[in-house]
Symmetry: C2
DNA sequence: TTGACATCCCTAATGCCATTAGGTTTTCCT
DNA sequence: AGGAAAACCTAATGGCATTAGGGATGTCAA
């Protein structure tokens, strides 16, 4: 057999990398994002700490890989929800997509903190890790643009300003929820359950006839 | 002279405590909130690290003292702006107060991160430290209530929900600004400069005649 | 003025951590 | 089967927070 697979060794390697990242996420969930200890990861995998350096050149590289994975998962959560939606009302679709990624963010607080808060001293995502995050932001913009094109929102909603306002208010709800009631569910959270209210506010502010007073 | 002051020694002690906190803030501003090193603080003060334990029982206690100081400063910033304001329009007053503490938050990112994001693993503010934070939240609520009492906002604006929406949208703008453009000024920041837009959105959503459609 | 005592600051040590250096074993392709 | 590369190890370095315990110093009562 000449073409079994892309190398048995590299496959095993990818698997180990995945395990490292999984364990890292698990430990951060329990101890806090900034409290990640490579020694603890190694212990959990039955390795000696220096062996991890076969897979990542530093702790920051692990944060970086997680940032990238987080952005990919975020994007997927949003896309799947929109594709599965049973409506062709573009504004309702937008609400479904937004709700989906908001729920994902709350269910994955570690990724969220890494991606949206950036509180790890010295960590700056690499261009490769940032790429899917840019894509996710572009998807958000496209969602707004679609609503504009359908005449359901004022063109300003998809402007730089509109996009910034939109991300601010959604991030605000999530930020408050995760800081003050981190263990609540998305539906019950004192802040997260207000996402529809906040979106309603946004949709009204950028209603198609805005400014005609 | 019998009553010079509340003890010479305790005065010196308070001064040292103040210096420790000042240096801690300075270092966090430069290196990141989670990167605070007691050894670095001690070095900066010409002390050996263990000597700091004469003043604080642990690193968390320093975070705690800073949390408390932050909440007090936050409250003061808001109060001073409102008192100095040259208007008796209650809504304009509310906007001035909100703008004042938003600006303060951006100018003091270390305190803000400590107070609003709570990303330090293992840190939970003590009841004493939390007291002024509660007071600050109460002041926010009173500001909304005043606007309601003056008939400028719908009663819902001062409800639990209204308060949560208000803190979410303001925190959202600040959160996005500090995560994505930490070094911008309040006026120029891509997100922070949108505070008036977001507040306008809030005021409109909770207009006195809301619901009468 | 003197003695007692609390305060302040020190050195030494412990046990974590991330990371580097350098060697040995294991795996797998040819 | 041979040989290279990968995977893993131990040992060591220099950082960290924190604890233990001791010496100097300033302050207050007598």
């Amino acid at each position: 057999m000449s073409t079994t697979a892309p190398d048995r060794r590299t496959r095993r390697r990818q698997q180990t990398i995945g395990e490292i990242l999984d364990v890292a996420i698990e430990l951060m969930e329990a101890e806090g994002v900034a409290a990640l200890s490579l020694s603890a990861v190694a212990r959990r995998l039955g390795m000696q700490p220096p062996s991890l350096y076969q897979y990542f050149p530093s702790k920051m590289a692990i944060y970086d890989a997680l940032f990238q994975r987080g952005a990919e998962l975020f994007l997927a959560a949003q896309r799947e929800a929109v594709e599965a939606a049973a409506t062709d009302d573009v504004l309702e679709l937008h609400l479904i997509g937004t709700t989906a990624y908001a729920r994902w963010s709350m269910q994955n607080p570690v990724y969220s903190q890494l991606m949206f808060w950036r509180t790890i001293p010295g960590f700056e995502p690499s261009p490769e890790a940032y790429a899917p995050a840019r894509e996710a932001l572009a998807a958000v913009r496209e969602g707004l643009q679609a609503a504009v094109d359908a005449g359901r929102l004022h063109p300003d909603a998809a402007s730089e300003e509109g996009l910034a306002v939109f991300t601010s208010v959604t991030a605000g709800v999530l930020s408050q929820q995760m800081a003050n009631e981190p263990d609540a569910s998305f539906e019950q959270g004192r802040f997260s359950r207000l996402l529809p209210v906040v979106l309603e506010m946004f949709y009204t502010h950028y209603a198609p006839d805005r400014g005609k007073r």
